[in-house]
Subunit: 256 residues, 2 copies
């Protein structure tokens, strides 16, 4: 059975996609066969890996709305060991289309249960909301990884996120656990960053990763070339941080 | 009749709330009576103005779902001339609850049509999505103001946003126009910022505001004190930039 990790935080712009892409690619580069599922209608993870939706035809929308077999929605990326189920703009209407479906929160969980064992990890990128696409991700996942910017508004949203996680755990997916909290766009020179980081560590303790992802412009340049930062600028702080994070993440897994 | 401006961009974390709060407060400080409507379930604009949802009882949720008269959902803020219809966590479920309502995209437009003429401006903050809360905002608005970060993923989303605006204009709100594009978190030292800014200006020309909002930590510190940056640090770059922007915005309005 693959391990399924949802990357979720309803606060916008905190580094969900950047983390999903670089964890998935990082694990593939370490030799673990990985699948990335892009549940965000913006399709940033799809574009960030250089995959063009029109080329692939089938994607997440077909999986959730058209009941397509999961194996038919999987496409290769230009990274060995990493495959993707891409997003496309049809997903913008998916939340409304899902509302009237039976067991609407568990459609993704059912679909991924048919996945062959060839993937050791499945990473789910989610949109900045607590709507049906994110609920589907939380219902299908074994764990939730929460990227957190050290800013006030991002901190405000954490309590609401945890409430949603507990609701999903109670009604839809009892084994669901928090994988960890990753501090992103960290700037140690700012008091605000340190204050918020201290507050988060005070509450989540060991579940906060030791690796910090610093603010590094290379991370925001790479997607415009359809590349990860590992290829775009391997020596950059961004590449080092995400390689380090991938190793720390894997150290917590029960690996074969 | 009040002028209604929706602050919208489905890309997360681009400065929608920061712009909504500082434009609304900026106009109130210039003597124009203003109402801020917080349509984002995260309730960041509400918290950023120091308003606690429990105190106010009624808010946006009551307006959209419980058909409360609009005048009963309006509450004062600690800024003279600025009132708010606050968000609360009940809004997280609102998108699903709205789906089955008659004329579900125009509920806000109907509700705001009963607003007394005492407000010259109404500013709508929206969540990072193109769902029913944002569609309600676009249907109720006279114009849409788009905060844009000069990053690749933010640029990717612009075409999708314009498609949605045109759909709303065609089916729900024909007089809808683009008020303007505000470049936020601008860092002139980065090539990426300049490249993306050039691309946006190439397409939108005069509709891009001359005022640039630079990255300034004071803007992200202020909301943790429930204050705008005008009160928190009046001499900061952030305060100067948003005062300048408010004046530029007002120069395009037909004022009495
Ligand atoms: N550590 C970092 N340093 C600098 N820029 C970063 C970093 N991480 C992400 N970015 C950039 O910041 C922006 C927001 O990141 P990203 O899109 O990954 O966040 P998100 O949470 O997925 O956003 P959304 O809520 O819209 O899905 C992007 O333009 C991205 O390239
Ligand atoms: N010019 C700026 N300089 C520095 N920080 C900023 C600036 N503008 C906004 N911020 C901070 O960046 C973060 C994102 O801004 P904000 O929350 O206003 O964006 P948003 O588009 O409303 O996000 P969401 O998509 O989650 O609604 C916040 O923590 C905010 O305090
Ligand atoms: Mg994203
Ligand atoms: Mg916001």
């Amino acid at each position: 059975m693959s391990k399924i990790i949802a990357i979720a935080n309803q606060k916008g712009g905190v580094g969900k996609t950047t983390t999903a892409v670089h964890l998935a690619a990082g694990m593939a580069l370490e030799g673990y066969s990985t699948l990335l599922v892009d549940l965000d209608p913006q399709g940033n993870a799809t574009a960030g890996l250089g995959v063009t939706p029109s080329e692939t035809e089938t994607g997440v929308y077909d999986l959730l709305i058209n009941d397509h077999p999961v194996e038919e929605t999987i496409h290769p990326t230009n990274i060995a060991g990493l495959s993707i189920i891409p997003a496309d703009t049809r997903l913008h209407g998916a939340e409304i289309e899902l509302v009237s479906k039976i067991a609407r929160e568990r459609i993704l969980a059912e679909a991924l249960s048919n996945l062959s064992d060839k993937f050791q990890f499945v990473v789910l990128d989610t949109p900045p909301s607590l709507g049906l696409l994110t609920l589907n991700a939380m219902s299908a996942a074994n764990t939730i990884l929460v990227p957190m910017q050290c800013e006030y508004y991002a901190l405000e949203g954490l309590a609401q996120l945890m409430k949603s996680v507990n609701l999903v755990k109670k009604h839809l997916n009892p084994p669901l656990e928090i994988e960890g909290i990753l501090l992103t766009m960290y700037d140690g020179r700012l008091n605000l960053t340190k204050q918020v980081a201290d507050e988060i560590t005070g509450v989540f303790e060991k579940r906060v990763y030791r690796t910090l992802i610093v603010r590094n412009v290379r991370l925001s340049e790479a997607p415009s070339f359809g590349q990860t930062v590992y290829t775009y600028d391997p020596q950059s702080r961004g590449a080092q941080n995400y390689r380090e994070f991938t190793v720390e993440f894997l150290s917590h897994q029960q690996l074969p």
